[in-house]
């Protein structure tokens, strides 16, 4: 994590969000944005952003986003099916899965993605294990669960966040 470019990345992200918030590129907006971004970078030295740890891999990023939205819609359809049935047929379990990611941002994105995908909710992350609550558990074996839950995202996130 000793990234020498970390402040620059934080600065760039902050400035980008400033421009998006203001919705204009007028010179006065840009000047104030530069000042604000510099102040934030100075006062929050260990702030992270989406860019920290990010390896410029546009193809994998696009693949991740597409996969994420596909899974999100699938998750919602299955959840709608579950909720609209007259009796709620759940078979929950807390299972343990394994991740190979080490960068904190990648791990956070992985946990968030698990939360938003079909029937799973990350409860606790500890070392290389993520504890996942599974609404309709198909297996309780860590390896099988890892293949089922994590592998799809990890394939992309491993490339993006190493």
């Amino acid at each position: 994590m000793s990234d020498r470019l970390a402040p620059a990345k934080l600065f760039a992200t902050t400035f980008l969000f400033w421009i998006l918030l203001n919705g204009s590129l007028a010179p006065d907006v840009a000047v104030v944005g530069l000042i604000v971004a510099a102040a934030i970078t100075y006062f929050l030295p260990n702030g992270l952003s989406f860019l920290s740890g990010y390896k410029a891999k546009p193809l994998a990023t696009l693949g991740y986003i597409a996969f994420f939205f596909k899974e999100l819609i699938k998750a919602n359809l299955s959840m709608a099916h579950l909720v609209l049935m007259p009796t709620i047929a759940v078979k929950p379990a807390f299972v343990k899965v394994r991740t190979k990611l080490t960068h904190p941002v990648g791990r956070l994105l992985l946990a968030n993605s698990i939360t938003l995908t079909p029937g799973t909710l990350s409860v606790e992350i500890e070392g290389e294990h993520i504890y996942v609550h599974w609404v309709v558990a198909e297996t309780t074996d860590p390896e099988a669960a890892t293949r089922k839950i994590v592998a799809g995202f990890e394939k992309y996130l491993e490339v993006i966040y190493g």
Partner: protein, 109 residues
């Protein structure tokens, strides 16, 4: 045409929001409620924002920012809540088959 498309997307989003409410109401225990609440409301929110952006193209940037912020904070708060529920010792649904987290914490002690 554009307003029709926007209306359809907006209504689809609202349907998912209502389904989220229904999930929070019907699900049997805390974690399943968190699951229903988070997923359905997140997708519903994204679709509502998309519908509003189609109806009012001038507002797109702000709507995208709202959707981004929510997509980031919502799973985070759900995870913190799920962890808190487990630590507070809330009883899971009797149908829960297996609790790896409780077993591991027991082993550590």
């Amino acid at each position: 045409m554009q307003s029709l498309l926007g209306a359809i997307v907006l209504t689809a989003g609202a349907v998912f929001l209502a389904l989220g409410g229904l999930g929070v109401w019907r699900m049997p225990d805390t974690w399943t409620r968190i699951q229903a609440g988070t997923k359905a409301t997140t997708l519903g929110m994204i679709l509502s924002m998309a519908g509003a952006a189609i109806l009012m193209p001038g507002w797109t940037i702000k709507l995208v920012l709202i959707a981004l912020f929510l997509m980031f904070t919502n799973p985070l708060s759900s995870q913190v809540l799920a962890r808190a529920a487990h630590r507070a010792g809330v009883k899971p649904d009797p149908r829960t088959r297996f609790d790896a987290l409780a077993a591991d914490e027991e082993a550590k002690r």
